[in-house]
Amino acid sequence: MGMQFNEIQMTEFKRLVARYPEGKQKSALLPALHLAQESFDGWLSVETMDYIASLLNIEPIEVYEVASFYSMYNLKPVGKFVFEVCQTGPCMISGSDNIIDYIKQTLDIKPGETTKDGVFTLKLVECLGACGYAPMMQVGKIYKEHLTKEKVDAIIAEYRQLAASKN
């Protein structure tokens, strides 16, 4: 058994479960998977999902089927920072194609890939509800909006620095 929540994470997990009535602890599954993904390198391994199943006292398959349904859960390892760039209608008509091409070119990766240094993953996503501030992408919890090539350069530099300071 590899990964387990530390004390702080476990306190948060218990807070999540406490929102629901007695016997309805399965309702905490989505938030618990978010917590697990944040706690364990940004993705959900089978081991992690089994661990969550044991904590919620449900079958592992109940976790797998949920984790594979929702687009925010990563079932494969990802870079330290994931650029999730919106490509749906409103962003497309505001120039997201150019932004996506520019990121691909600058990071030298295709959507779904991670840079060799393990810092960035590029993911194309569908509408994130920032249509008025397009083009845009999500990085972790944050939205980066009104993207231009210059802004993309600055964002890449910002996260490169953050990655370096974490090492």
Partner: protein, 450 residues
């Protein structure tokens, strides 16, 4: 300037905090509702207000509330639908981010009216920073006696919990949302039973959109009759419109539903005209699911009358020549936009978001995307256009939930109004890769106001 009921205080510095919100008169609607009214009279006022669900379907909110079953000893729940995922829509995000206490105030009143002691806000997972804002507001409200046990000495207990989704458009559909809230895949349920009878954990449940719940606050303040006087016909009160695309001033606007579409697009109070002085080509006025309209049918109805930003006027002419108010996601396309490409991105969206439960939607959305891709890449045949039409027709109305319809309508409307552009792509496989069809749809120049 039109009437503002929701965003009138949005620019007050610090309005996000309890102290400022309270100083500006916040929570007085809760005081009025809990002290001077009872659940029945609150439902009555909301019915009288004519408030229609602001998530997209436009169902009368008061009527929805009155359907809730009240079996003895079974808890009931109010769930706030904050899963805002319809492309073009970002109004609920604005409300939650900048006026969290307004939403809480509406939630407390609605919870009291429906008898919900545990109320849930289900928010789309990508709005990852907003739960922190909401939870802070909830803590402030609780510390000041607006939530928790025995609120204002009425004996009413209420707690509000925030749950994040994890990336699934389908969870905006109320039964899929409930499934998700129970920790499962977002597969919509077959209705009946409706959530009002068996919803969350099989208990009576009402699911309302964020904006709908916020609108309860002014309704309590002014009374249902006064609220109903704002607007026109069955489009009562105010509506938030999130405007985006090729306009000068994208953003969230509160309108009183008497403004014309033309004024909304061109006046400086709202969208400020088309970006770069270009011409208007088309618009999807109510979120990506609703029919796209060419500029001429957008600004005037088929009868030649001015079209207004309200439920009735936007749908004037049915799907043949009209559209829908939907969620208020107003997407404007200028002369340089390609209708085939735009329709392709929307078809891809619906293929991605189909939950896979019903075959017509699961298979059909994928077929539509592939055929549109083929046409867009200059590899299409004329028969593909008819095939697209045929597929969308076979999805619509043949699925458990409205996602099938939502996927069909954009494709149908694009072919209905812009068939010549699809044909142009087929006939000009090479030219269409480097050039675009522009405004060739219009025999006459499009009317542009001075």
């Amino acid at each position: 300037m039109g009437v503002k009921l929701l965003l009138d205080k949005a620019n007050v510095p610090g309005i996000r905090t309890y102290d400022v919100y309270r100083r500006e008169g916040g929570y007085s609607a809760v005081e009025k509702a809990l002290k001077e009214m009872n659940p029945e009279t609150i439902v009555e006022e909301v019915k009288k207000s004519g408030l229609r669900g602001r998530g997209g379907a436009g169902f009368p909110a008061g009527m929805k509330w009155s359907f809730i079953a009240k079996p003895e000893g079974v808890p009931r729940h109010l769930v706030c639908n904050a899963d805002e995922s319809e492309p073009g829509t970002f109004k609920d995000r604005y409300l939650m981010e900048f006026l969290p206490h307004l939403l809480l105030e509406g939630l407390i009143i609605a919870s009291f009216a429906l008898g919900s002691n545990d109320t849930y806000i289900y928010i789309r997972g990508e709005y990852a920073w907003i739960p922190d804002i909401l939870e802070e507001a909830i803590n402030e409200a609780k510390a000041n006696g607006w939530l928790g046990k025995n609120i204002l000495g009425t004996g009413f207990d209420c707690n509000i919990h925030v749950q994040r989704g994890a990336g699934a458009y389908i969870c905006g559909e109320e039964t899929a949302l409930i499934e998700s809230l129970e920790g499962r895949r977002g597969n919509p349920r077959i209705k009946p039973p409706f959530p009002a009878i068996q919803g969350l954990w099989m208990r009576p449940t009402v699911v309302n959109n964020v904006e709908t719940l916020a609108a309860v606050v002014p309704i309590i303040h002014m009374g249902g009759d006064e609220y109903a006087k704002i607007g026109v016909g069955k489009s009562t009160g105010t509506k938030l419109i999130s405007a985006c695309g090729n306009i000068n001033k994208p953003g969230v606007y509160e309108i009183d539903m008497t403004v014309s579409v033309e004024d909304f697009i061109y006046s400086d109070e709202y969208c400020g005209g088309i970006k770069g002085g270009k011409q208007l080509k088309a618009c999807i006025p109510g979120g990506s699911s609703v029919p796209i309209l060419p500029a001429n049918l957008l600004l005037k109805t088929a009868k030649g009358e001015t079209r207004y930003m309200n439920y009735e006027s936007l749908s004037d002419g049915g799907f043949a020549t009209g559209s829908m108010m939907g969620s208020g996601g107003f997407i404007v396309l200028d002369e340089d936009q390609c209708i085939v490409k735009n329709t392709l991105t929307l078809a891809r969206f619906y293929r991605h978001e189909s939950c896979g439960q019903c075959s017509p939607c699961r298979e059909g959305t994928g077929w539509m995307e592939k055929i549109l891709m083929k046409i867009e890449q200059g590899k299409g045949e004329m028969s593909d256009i008819d095939l697209l039409w045929d597929i969308q027709r076979k999805i619509e109305g043949n699925t458990i939930c409205p996602l099938g319809d939502a996927a069909s309508w954009p494709v149908a409307a694009a072919i209905r109004h812009f068939r010549d552009e699809f044909e142009w792509h087929v006939k000009n496989p090479e030219l269409s890769q480097t050039s675009n069809f522009g405004l060739q749809h219009y025999a006459d120049p499009i009317h542009i106001p001075a």
